[in-house]
C-alpha cells in the first residue's frame, strides 16, 4: 500500500468520482423527463382540445365560427343514441368486472401451487404469446370461432345439432354485445394476470400465506384476504386502464360489437370518417361524451372500491375460515383457463383458414389445403408488412432511448419518479383514443404533416412509451447501484459505465420490454388510421378493414401475419441475450 504508484492511482480514482459527483448535480440527462412527458402529453393535450372545441361547434376550417350546442343536439337526435350509450356502458362495466374477477380468482387459485407458478414464470412466461397478439387479431380469430359458421358450430355439427347449414343466429355483432365482452376478456384477463404477477414481486407472498395457513385459512381464501389487499394499490391503475379500454375500444368493437347502433366510440369513428364533413361536429361531441363515460365509470369504480374495502375489512375481522371463496376461486381459474384455450384456438383458427383451399360448412377441417391464397396475396402483403415493421422498430427505438435516459437520470440523481409521473404514463391508456386522435389529426392536417411516416411513429410512441417504461422501470431500479459505483471506481466515465456495464447487465429485461413495446405498436389501429390519414396501411389496419366482410382465407392471412410478427419479436427478445451471454449465468435479471 506504500508504493507511490498505488497512491497516485487512488488519488486519480478519487478525482474521477468527485468529478462524477459534481456532474450529478447538473446531470446531462436532465432533459429526459421533460422531453418524455412532452412527447406524451403534447399530442394528447392538443388533440383533446382539437376535439373539445368542435364538440361545442367551434372549428373555423369547417365553418364553425361560434360556440353552440348543435353538435350535442345532433348526437342526441341520432336514432340509436340512447341504446348506444347504454350498450357501451353495459359492455364496459361487464368486461371490467368479469376481467378483474376472473384474473383475481385465477391468481388466488394459482397461489401456493408451485406447478402453476412455474408454468406462469416470473414475468408471465407462457402468457407472453397471448399478450403479444394484437387485440384485433384475437378478435378476428374469436369471430372465426363463434360465428354461426365458425369452428365451434362446425365442431358440434351435424352430429349433435343436426345443422347442415350455418344456423340463423346472431353471435358476432349481437345487439347485447356479449360476443364483444368475451372477445375483450380474452386479452384483458391475461393482461391483469400479468399485472398481478408483477405486483406480487413487492410483497412477501409465500410467508404471508404460510402465516395465514398456520392460522387455519385455506390457500385461495388466505390469498384473497392477505395478499390481494396488499397488492391492490399497484393494481388500481391497470384496472382503470382496463375500464377505459373496455368502454372505448374501437377495433375489437368493429369486429365483434353490435352494428346498429354501434358502441359510442365506433359511432364517433363512423361520423369522423363520414364523407359529409359536417358529421365531424356530432362525432366530436360523441368523443367527448365517451371521455365523460370513462371518467364516470372510473369514479363509480373508485367509490365501489372504497365500499368493498370497508366491507372487506369487516369480513376479515370476523375471522371466518369457511365459505365459498376457495371453490369460487377454482371456478374463476377454470374460466380463465377456458379463455386462454379460446384465445389459443382463435389464433390457430386464423392460421388454418389462410391455408384452406375449400372448407364447406359442417366440416371440422378444410377439404383441401393450398398455398394459393398466400401466393396470391403475398405481393400486396408486402407494403403493410414493411410499414408495420418500420413503424414498430422506430417507435420502440425512440421510446427506449427516452425511457433509458429517464431511468438513468433517476439513478444518477438518486431520485425516483413519483405518483404524478405514474399517472402521466397512464394518461394515454386512460383517455379514450377517439377523444384525442381526431383532434390530433386536424392539427396534423394544419401542419401538413398528416399521413407521413413520422406522424404515425409519433402517434404510436404515445402508446408504446408507457408500456416500455412500466415494464423496464422495475428491473432497472432493482439493479444494484454498486455496479455503477464499482465501474466509476475503476475509472470508467458515466457514459462508459452506462454502455459497458449497465446496459449489458440489463439486456434481458431491455429486450423483453422492447418486444412488448413492438407488440403494442403492431396492434395499433386507430392511431395508425388517423395519424396516417389512411395513407399508411399496416397489417392491423388492413386486417380490421378486411374483417368487415372479405374472404375468410384472406382475413386469415392478415390476422396470421399480424399475430406472428410480435411473437417473433418475443422469440428474438428471449433468444438474443441468451446467445450474446451464453456463457454468463449471472445475466438473468
Amino acid at each position: 500500500m506504500d508504493d507511490p504508484h498505488g497512491r497516485r492511482m487512488g488519488a486519480a480514482i478519487h478525482e474521477v468520482t468527485a468529478a462524477n459527483a459534481r456532474r450529478g448535480a447538473r446531470s446531462s440527462l436532465a432533459w429526459a423527463p421533460f422531453l418524455t412527458v412532452g412527447a406524451l402529453l403534447l399530442p394528447i393535450a392538443a388533440g383533446f382540445l382539437g376535439t373539445l372545441l368542435p364538440a361545442f361547434g367551434y372549428l373555423p376550417a369547417l365553418g364553425g365560427a361560434h360556440f353552440n350546442l348543435s353538435p350535442w343536439r345532433a348526437l342526441v337526435a341520432y336514432p340509436g343514441f340512447a341504446t348506444s350509450v347504454v350498450t357501451t356502458l353495459c359492455i364496459g362495466i361487464a368486461t371490467s368486472l368479469l376481467a378483474v374477477a376472473v384474473a383475481v380468482g385465477f391468481c388466488a387459485f394459482a397461489s401456493g401451487r408451485p406447478r402453476v407458478a412455474r408454468w406462469l414464470g416470473a414475468r408471465g412466461g407462457w402468457l407472453s404469446p397471448l399478450l403479444s397478439t394484437p387485440h384485433s387479431a384475437i378478435a378476428i380469430g374469436f369471430a372465426f370461432l363463434v360465428a354461426p359458421s365458425g369452428w365451434i358450430a362446425r365442431g358440434v355439427s351435424p352430429w349433435l345439432t343436426g345443422w347442415t347449414l350455418p344456423p340463423d343466429i346472431a353471435t358476432v355483432g349481437d345487439a347485447t354485445g356479449w360476443t364483444l365482452v368475451l372477445g375483450l376478456l380474452l386479452k384483458e384477463v391475461p393482461f391483469l394476470v400479468l399485472m398481478i404477477i408483477v405486483a406480487l414481486h413487492q410483497v412477501p407472498v409465500e410467508r404471508s400465506l404460510a402465516i395465514a395457513r398456520s392460522l387455519g385459512y385455506r390457500r385461495s381464501h388466505a390469498w384473497l384476504k392477505v395478499v390481494l389487499p396488499q397488492i391492490h394499490p399497484q393494481l388500481r391503475l391497470p384496472i382503470y386502464a382496463v375500464i377505459a379500454f373496455s368502454l372505448s375500444v374501437v377495433d375489437v368493437a368493429l369486429i365483434l360489437g353490435p352494428a346498429n347502433p354501434p358502441t359510442l366510440s365506433v359511432l364517433a369513428v363512423r361520423w369522423f370518417t363520414d364523407a359529409d364533413i359536417q358529421s365531424y361536429f356530432p362525432a366530436a361531441a360523441g368523443a367527448i361524451l365517451q371521455t365523460l363515460l370513462v371518467i364516470s365509470v372510473i369514479a363509480l369504480w373508485f367509490g365501489a372500491e372504497r365500499c368493498a374495502a370497508w366491507a372487506g375489512r369487516n369480513w376479515i375481522a370476523r375471522g371466518d375460515r369457511r365459505g365459498l371463496l376457495a371453490p369460487a376461486a377454482g371456478f374463476a381459474a377454470a374460466l380463465a383457463c377456458g379463455m386462454f384455450a379460446l384465445a389459443a384456438l382463435a389464433t390457430i383458427a386464423m392460421g388454418i383458414w389462410s391455408f384452406a383451399a375449400q372448407w364447406r360448412f359442417p366440416d371440422a377441417w378444410p377439404q383441401a389445403w393450398s398455398l394459393a391464397t398466400w401466393s396470391r396475396h403475398l405481393p400486396e402483403l408486402l407494403a403493410p408488412f414493411v410499414n408495420t415493421m418500420a413503424i414498430g422498430v422506430c417507435a420502440t427505438a425512440i421510446a427506449l432511448v427516452l425511457v433509458a435516459a429517464c431511468l438513468e437520470n433517476e439513478s444518477r440523481r438518486h431520485v425516483r419518479a413519483g405518483n404524478a409521473a405514474l399517472w402521466t404514463l397512464y394518461v394515454p391508456l386512460l383517455i379514450p383514443q377517439v377523444a384525442f386522435l381526431f383532434g390530433a389529426q386536424v392539427l396534423l392536417v394544419r401542419l401538413d404533416f398528416d399521413g407521413t411516416f413520422a406522424a404515425v411513429v409519433w402517434a404510436h410512441l404515445v402508446f408504446v412509451l408507457p408500456y416500455l417504461f412500466l415494464v423496464l422501470a422495475e428491473p432497472w431500479r432493482a439493479l444494484d447501484p454498486r455496479f455503477a459505483r464499482t465501474a466509476a471506481g475503476l475509472g470508467a466515465s458515466r457514459t462508459r459505465a452506462f454502455f459497458r456495464v449497465k446496459l449489458p447487465i440489463l439486456s434481458r429485461p431491455i429486450a423483453a420490454a422492447c418486444a412488448i413495446a413492438f407488440a403494442v405498436s403492431v396492434g395499433q389501429y386507430l392511431a395508425t388510421l388517423f395519424a396516417g390519414n389512411g395513407r399508411v396501411p399496416t397489417l392491423t389496419t388492413e386486417a380490421v378493414t378486411l374483417a368487415a366482410g372479405a374472404d375468410r382465407r384472406v382475413i386469415g392471412i392478415y390476422a396470421f401475419a399480424q399475430s406472428t410478427l410480435p411473437l417473433l419479436a418475443y422469440v428474438a427478445a428471449a433468444g438474443l441475450p441468451a446467445i450474446l451471454f451464453r456463457n454468463r449465468r449471472g445475466i438473468t435479471t
Binding site: 410467508r207 395457513r213 392460522l215 376479515i316
Partner: protein
C-alpha cells in the same frame, strides 16, 4: 390441555442428499425443545415440514402427531400448528386489532366478545389501546409481541419458532424471549424452537444439535 408434538422417524431428503436421516422426537405440552445447527442443515426445512409448507423439491417420510392425531397428511390450515418467523409479518393492510381479529376463530361470533378477546390479548402484550394503530408505527419489540399474540389467538395445538429473536436487538431479545416462554408455558403448548444462538434456548430445556443427525 393439548397433547404432545411427536415426530416419528422423520426423514427429509433433497435430490441425492439426505438432510435429516431419521428423527424421533417427543415434545411434551409446555416443553420447549431447541433445535440448533449451522445454516443449511435443515432446521427450517423441518419446521416447514411440520407446518405443512414443505417445498415439493424435498422428499419427506415419517409421521407427525399432536396428541393422538396424525397430522402428516393434513393441509397446513387444518394442522393447528402456529408458526413465528424472524420477521413479524404483520399484515400491513390491517390495523393491529385487525391482525388479531384475523387470527381469532369465527366460532367466536359475537362482536363484543370478539373485541373483548382482542382487548385482552393486547393487554397481555402490554399494548392496551394500540388496537387501531397501523402496525408500521410500532417498535420492533411491540410488533414481535403482536405477532405472538396473533399466533396464539388462533388456538394452536403446537408452536414452531423459526429464529424469532434474530432480528431484535440484544436488549429486546431477552425480554421477548421471556415473554414468549411465559405465554406458551401458560397455555401448555409443545414448542419447537430453531436457532443458532445458544442463549435463545430455554434454561434447562432440551437442546438437539442437528449436525449430529445430518
Amino acid at each position: 390441555m393439548s397433547g404432545s408434538l411427536r415426530l416419528e422417524s422423520v426423514r427429509i431428503a433433497i435430490g441425492a442428499g439426505t438432510l435429516i436421516a431419521s428423527l424421533d422426537l417427543d415434545v411434551a405440552p409446555g416443553e420447549c425443545v431447541t433445535l440448533m445447527g449451522p445454516s443449511g442443515c435443515g432446521k427450517s426445512t423441518l419446521l416447514a415440514y411440520i407446518s405443512g409448507a414443505l417445498d415439493p423439491a424435498f422428499r419427506a417420510t415419517g409421521r407427525i402427531l399432536i396428541g393422538s392425531v396424525d397430522i402428516t397428511a393434513l393441509p397446513p390450515e387444518a394442522r393447528q400448528v402456529g408458526i413465528l418467523f424472524q420477521d413479524d409479518l404483520l399484515f400491513p393492510h390491517m390495523s393491529v386489532a385487525g391482525n388479531l381479529a384475523f387470527a381469532l376463530p369465527a366460532v367466536v361470533r359475537d362482536r363484543a366478545v370478539r373485541r373483548a378477546h382482542i382487548e385482552q390479548a393486547l393487554a397481555e402484550a402490554d399494548l392496551a389501546g394500540f388496537g387501531e394503530r397501523d402496525p408500521a408505527t410500532l417498535s420492533g419489540g411491540q410488533r414481535a409481541r403482536v405477532a405472538l399474540m396473533r399466533t396464539l389467538l388462533a388456538g394452536p395445538k403446537a408452536l414452531l419458532l423459526d429464529e424469532p429473536f434474530n432480528k431484535l436487538d440484544i436488549a429486546l431479545r431477552g425480554e421477548f424471549r421471556r415473554f414468549v416462554f411465559e405465554h406458551v408455558a401458560r397455555r401448555e403448548l409443545p414448542m419447537l424452537l430453531v436457532t443458532h444462538d445458544e442463549a435463545d434456548a430455554l434454561e434447562g430445556g432440551r437442546v438437539i444439535r442437528l449436525t449430529e443427525l445430518c
